[in-house]
Subunit: 191 residues, 2 copies
DNA sequence: TTTATAGGAATGAATATTCATTCCGTTTTT
DNA sequence: AAAAACGGAATGAATATTCATTCCTATAAA
């Protein structure tokens, strides 16, 4: 076992960035080692193989994201406020963990995800489905399948964040507020 | 030069499917050859290498998609009708060319795209930007950067179509109409 | 009409390259 | 000094690409 946990974290950080930018298959172990400033062999001291590494990363960030959404969730309040909480959670999470959401999204249906990763991701979807189902019952959310509503919000938001990451847009408070409003209008029930 | 154009098309068809399903890096030339029922070497009679193949494919479908959006565009009409045209164009294109839009989307910022591919994609964005810019000037479209509006629509739509392709949702007329309405509400100016 | 021949197209085994993983000598920690 | 952690060259498997050979098809000679 390693003395400090620094190298393991360095490896995970580099892997996250590279997997998000180039994808799993286009990212080589030597690339990760180089970026993390460790020897290629060192990676195998911490992770049995490349798939274990990517699954560890995936589960780690899915869990963090779930926590970001659930933390301080305003249970008894209005649906718009709950939506705001979830949306802010996405933004906060994205700011704190630069490439994480994009990594999750682009690897969500990858062939190398193990059962545990898929299950964790299922939990995440459940949180969002519950929100939309409740909203539809109250007549406050558009009558579309929850899966579709989630896809619209997530797809749109992540596509947008890609532009921000690439530098084509700046993540100003004004822009983000506008995007939240746009997403809300996409899912809410209109009179 | 080949006697018929069949093999080249077979190769392109197989490559499209496999690139869309597995991604560029996880798709091997022998896989493509096998799926297209040609020898691996045959692929190199038509395409100098794997990157030329993927760029050819990318440019081909970006061009087709541009045409689908521009064909019969209702120039002098209302903005909602124009939006409908563009949205229907997306749907029609997706139905006609099963994996094409998803392939385009997932490979849009890939490291192996050449200058020509990037430029073609730029043209495509321009069509949509022009639409949104005009709409904002008329006060009919939400005041957000056009790039952001495009990201929201495209990201959402494509994420949704992924669910359909995977079989989690059915592409009924009702669903599609609802999604169009949702997307429209996302981008339109609200009083 | 049949047979020969040329030349492009197709093939897939052989080669070159890339990459995940292992191994072992060196360095660091205890 | 012993044990653990490291680095990075070495290994072997997988993959892109090449190329010598075979297969077609079309034209021409008989």
């Amino acid at each position: 076992m390693p003395t400090s946990t620094t190298k393991r974290d360095d490896i995970l950080d580099s892997a996250l960035t590279l997997f998000a930018e180039r994808g799993f298959d286009a990212t080589t172990i030597p690339m990760i080692a180089n970026d993390a400033k460790v020897g290629a062999g060192t990676i195998y001291r911490y992770f049995a193989n490349k798939e274990v590494l990517v699954n560890t990363l995936f589960q780690h960030y899915v869990t963090l994201f779930k926590e970001a959404l659930e933390k301080d969730y305003p249970e008894g309040t209005g649906i718009r406020e709950q939506f705001h909480h979830l949306f802010q959670g996405m933004i906060r999470f994205t700011n704190e963990h630069d490439h994480a959401l994009y990594f999750i999204k682009t690897h969500t249906s990858a062939y190398f995800l193990d059962a545990e990763s898929r299950e964790q991701f299922g939990h995440l979807l459940m949180i969002l489905e519950n929100f939309f189902e409740a909203g539809k019952q109250q007549g406050q959310i558009r009558e579309l399948p929850s899966k579709a509503l989630i896809a619209i919000i997530f797809g749109g938001f992540l596509q947008l964040y890609q532009l921000i990451r690439v530098g084509e847009l700046e993540a100003s408070a004004e822009l983000l507020a506008g995007v939240e409003e746009s997403c809300w209008d996409a899912v809410r029930h209109h009179a």
